[in-house]
Point group: C2
Chain length 690, copies 2
């Protein structure tokens, strides 16, 4: 009985803390019907044992019997049961939200259903992926566009996804993502969930603060991290201050074309402080952009030469610099021709930026990870990771400080605003604060890396009336497992966040899952933040063993414009239009023109037409395949054995690939996506005559 | 109230059908304590409304109140609740089983925790994967070993995983997997979950029946599918019967070395029927191997030339051939020098195999998918996919038929046994039967592709006493969503299967999940088969959007020998031994030898030593990094910006990669795995002087 008492106590603490609305008698009836237990309480009873109770309750308690047996066998606690029924999504029902998480050095993006925390799909971005047919035939042109030093890169370190916005809220049309390892950004179309463009920044070899968007997606913002000379040309570290630079790039997005417009894009040269995350202002701060930095010491390491290692050298001063950009002014300078073209990209020089009021700094507690803007745009939150406080800057105060010219220039001539004049509040949240997101109840949430926890704290100002607690105060803290980096709330970086769920993107999982060898998955934990107040229960642990998600953005599933099949047979996903050259049923053919053979093939359940492709060694082959199906999920795949070709041809899609037949032989080709009862028979022969 | 009644009815049907053991009063108390509902029934009460009930129940029903609210809000049914509490694994607790599923044309293997159906990890096999550092530095030697026509292949179509066995049961040491697209098999070591070897079959360009193992993992079996000339040399289709062949390859596995021993391996030449799955006998049939086939018509298609398309041509006859191998005899012939070396692989000719009693055929209903052997080895199950029955062959009857020489030769001289003499039973199961697995209660389970269902049926003979039902009879059928291919039960293809869960690997998901564009995930569904009898509830839908799992094998999690960190700092995972050349803390250095620069680097939180690597354009660089950490999960990653290098260096591991510095410039390198609070500072500079 001791155990019983303990569990009561735990239940009371954990469940009663939530304030649920009173439900009506009708609702109560439906609940009992659906769940079965509690029926005795509803109907009243004089039952003295289990069997009698069943009778009294009209056979309803039998449900709880079987469920109770499972609960006992599996050792579930009341909190576990709550979590189970909160996250379980029955067969055929859909998740409420989709989180797009970066895949870290997998180079991909992962779409995760919430609250079930099931990975719905990977979207191949920087790394070839044969299941999606990305980079193994079609798609390779996108990867080639992102070449570095003339070489196609087949990996990436995808960091910060962002959904396109209209008026400061997600519109669900596009997803953008940066590649820290190679200084690139990618554009994904959320109609077909495919990567359409990879833009290599010609001036920075890596980035970090990418991507974020302005409130109407006019610009996609990309910030550098580790400084190099612009164009990453060689310069010795002794010339660091003279030649090494940071960069903020504002890529103009052409929404209609679905592409970055390089000609309308520009960048701002920055001192070689290591810029980190960049985020756009919104609402009252629309037209401004904020970034953080973490090595204003300009340390470059050299532990082997007796110099302080980077992590020590970069932590010597108490403060780094919050970067504050007047984007509207920068855009005007660019349009006025005050930017200089370097390697094809228009750059506003550091000198111009400092002199013309494009760039300001404000001190920030040292070595923060990121900067976050509250929903209405008034507050800018930065956490120095070695300080237990978050610092809340006021946009209004920043403007006043600029107007009053309360600044001193840094060594590059950039105005450093007076710290005290810009700050609205400082809130103690715990050890190792990194990133902050916002909800719809006037709360902010900050990840605490060293505490391995998520803190909830109250916003002040106009947000004060949204919550019952004192403003600018931590009110809840929930441990997470372990070492949380970013956190993600639906719309948590927009003007209208939702407030039901929070995902903690934890970096270490250690003991959470069945060990998977020395390489362990990450642990993404779902927290219930719907109740407000001092309770935030961890509902679910999701192992991620296909990459290292760095950050995520979450959107209501209903806002996604996904196509179920391509609009028309013969569709080219790269141009998002019908390919006039696409093979169609009845028009299949093989055309030889000298040493070039062009194959026009269709695929329908359960055959390819033609089934025989006869060529000669040395021929160059251009091979088109149209999936002529119009049924959702009737995807066909295609491979030629031994040829390293892997296509995923979705209903309506046309794929084209090319190769030179440099080895004679007999090569079966077949459908690689199990499409029908006669799928194994969906094959043909490529015959390469010597 | 109508809805209420309906739900009662559903609850009664679905829950009471399970026969749970009576639980003791003590257990009952624990259940109530943990779950809270049903308390009124236990204690007896005179409560007339909700508030009173709470009092009577000692504040316990509060738990069910909050859970009931969630259940009502989310519209969960009693079956949903049962499923939720059956599959939810609380934070920090582990799944009971791990299913290793092939990744289809993703080329990988996925490890999935059961019953939670969470993907724990991907294991890179045939496709490079930068998160694991596979093929982006180290690991590429394994991919190079699997080259086809001299070219490294960076994709695959992974099909049939199998766990190494001792005495016919999984021992958990190794995992093997075949690549249908390129005729390869791979060896994965389950201590560190890494791919150690890819073996290219020199005689077949593709495969399908790969892999399976003999009961003590002496041999890994690989079967061809689409016939080509051996060595896939060119031959016109007109010479199909003369020159095209199938092949069964028996790869000798050296368990101590953890590698296939090519010299001790051999193959058996087969007619150009399209062989499908091969599986080893066990118990009474140990020493024999069985395979199915599906195109004894020897059709090759040619729809564009007016010939019947493959799927029609290959379905003209009523029967195909079950392949029956006497492996012991084949091994003896090989050892006696009766095999001929072709392209380095020893081959027993079709003529020898037929004449010496190595190979027999038995008619099977046409176009089956696979062949499965019951736990004690006596029964061999084949399902012709166009026939609603499974056919159960008796190993004893096969032996008697062989002894009695009741056969006629096929056109290649292979004895075709008399069908009726070999068959034990035929069981009607439904439309499109494909694959069969077994449990520990005398039941078999068959996937029904066209019915989109899983059937449970009873085995006869010695299994009859294990179940209450009549032998050789279907007793349950559960719909699945949709188009199920393989199914997987823990140990379901071994001598001692478990019987708690079944996973249906469904090929289409259609409407099951939030739409993810035209390319949808697969749907792996977990079924509760623990209760026996006529009920098998679908417990969970798992979307798989990172590949197309073809087949899976499931093992108790506790049987896996996973290392948490590598045994010693400086470990080379390829040799599974300490690398004598590995850099160790205090011994870091850069050594120049002419135009070759060798870097000996260590990684510990939070720095690399050395932090500066200064070379000249044109230098060839050999770069070793040891992760000197001994803490579980303290993995470091490594990339050099713009260089397409991505390493995952787990605790203790040493990685080596090489490149030629052909472009001058300034290239930051950094840790790509978020390792510590100062992770962003874990970086250095590669300076390539012009």
């Amino acid at each position: 009985m001791i155990e019983t008492v303990q569990l009561h106590s735990s239940a009371k603490k954990s469940i009663f803390a939530h304030s649920f609305v009173k439900h009506s008698r009708l609702l109560r009836l439906a609940v009992v019907a659906a769940f079965g237990f509690g029926a005795a309480a509803l109907s009243g009873c004089g039952a003295k044992d289990d069997d009698d109770a069943k009778t009294a309750a009209g056979k309803i308690t039998g449900i709880s019997d079987s469920v109770q047996k499972i609960v006992a066998d599996r050792g579930l606690t009341p909190d576990d049961i709550k979590a189970a029924v909160s996250t379980y999504v029955p067969s055929g029902k859909h998740d409420d939200y989709v989180m797009f998480a970066s895949g870290g050095h997998s180079g991909q993006v992962f779409a995760i259903g919430v609250p079930s925390m099931r990975m719905l799909r990977s979207i191949a971005v920087f790394t070839p992926e044969p299941w999606q047919g990305y980079g193994y035939g079609t798609g390779s042109n996108v990867l080639a566009e992102g070449a570095v030093d003339g070489k196609t890169i087949t990996s990436g370190d995808s960091h910060h996804p962002v959904i396109s916005e209209t008026n400061g809220d997600y519109d669900g049309q596009y997803l953008f993502i940066g590649d820290k390892a190679n200084g690139r950004i990618a554009v994904i179309d959320l109609r077909d969930w495919e990567t359409k463009q990879i833009v290599k920044n010609p001036l920075i070899v890596g980035n970090h603060g990418g991507t974020s968007v302005t409130p109407n997606t006019d610009y996609i913002i990309e910030g550098s991290q580790y400084a190099t000379p612009l164009g990453w040309e060689y310069a010795p570290l002794e010339e660091y201050k003279q030649k090494y630079r940071g960069l903020a790039t504002f890529w103009k997005f052409d929404r209609k074309a679905g592409r970055v417009d390089r000609e309308q894009s520009f960048a701002v040269e920055l001192p070689p402080y290591w810029q980190d995350l960049f985020t756009s202002g919104k609402g009252v701060s629309d037209g401004w952009v904020f970034g953080n930095s973490f090595n204003v010491e300009q340390a470059t390491g050299g532990i082997e030469e007796g110099k302080p290692p980077v992590e020590a050298g970069a932590s010597q001063r108490d403060t780094d610099y919050l970067h504050i950009f007047n984007l509207k002014k920068a855009e005007q300078l660019f349009k006025d021709g005050k930017a200089e073209k370097i390697k094809g990209l228009s750059v506003i020089s550091l000198k111009t930026a400092a002199e013309e009021g494009v760039l300001y700094f404000a001190p920030e507690n040292k070595s923060p990870h990121g900067v976050d803007v509250a929903p209405n745009g008034e507050y800018i939150v930065v956490s120095g990771k070695l300080d237990p406080h978050v610092t809340v800057y006021s946009f209004e105060k920043i403007q006043q400080t600029i107007a009053a010219k309360k600044w001193k220039p840094d060594e590059y001539g950039v105005p450093v605003l007076d710290f005290d004049s810009t700050v609205e509040a400082r809130v103690e949240v715990g050890l190792g604060p990194l990133h902050t997101q916002f909800d719809n109840k006037g709360y902010a949430y900050t990840s605490l890396f060293l505490d391995s926890a998520v803190a909830r704290w109250t916003l002040g100002g106009k947000y004060s009336s949204m919550h019952p607690e004192e403003a600018w105060k931590e009110i809840a803290k929930t441990p997470v497992q372990y070492n949380v980096g970013h956190i993600c709330i639906p719309g948590g970086d927009t003007m209208h966040p939702d407030g039901k769920y929070l995902v903690a993107l934890n970096k270490w999982s250690v003991d959470r899952f069945v060990p998977t060898g020395p390489l362990l998955p990450q642990n993404l934990q779902l927290l219930d933040i719907g109740g407000g107040g001092d309770k935030m229960q961890v509902l679910y642990d999701m192992p991620v063993g296909v990459g290292e998600p760095h950050y995520g953005v979450m959107i209501a599933a209903g806002k996604l414009p996904s196509w179920t099949v391509y609009p028309q047979a013969g569709w080219d996903p790269h141009t998002q239009a019908v390919d006039a050259n696409a093979p169609l049923p009845g028009k299949e053919r093989i055309v030889r023109n000298g040493g070039t053979v062009e194959v026009f093939m269709t695929a329908v359940r359960s055959h390819f037409t033609p089934e025989h492709v006869k060529i000669k060694k040395g021929d160059h082959v251009i091979w088109h395949i149209t999936n002529a199906e119009r049924t959702q999920d009737a995807t066909h795949g295609f491979t030629i054995q031994g040829h390293n070709i892997s296509l995923s041809i979705e209903p309506g899609e046309t794929n084209t690939f090319e190769f030179t037949a440099d080895t004679a032989g007999t090569y079966p080709f077949y459908c690689v996506e199990f499409c029908s009862a006669l799928h194994l028979e969906m094959m043909g022969y490529l015959l390469v005559e010597p």
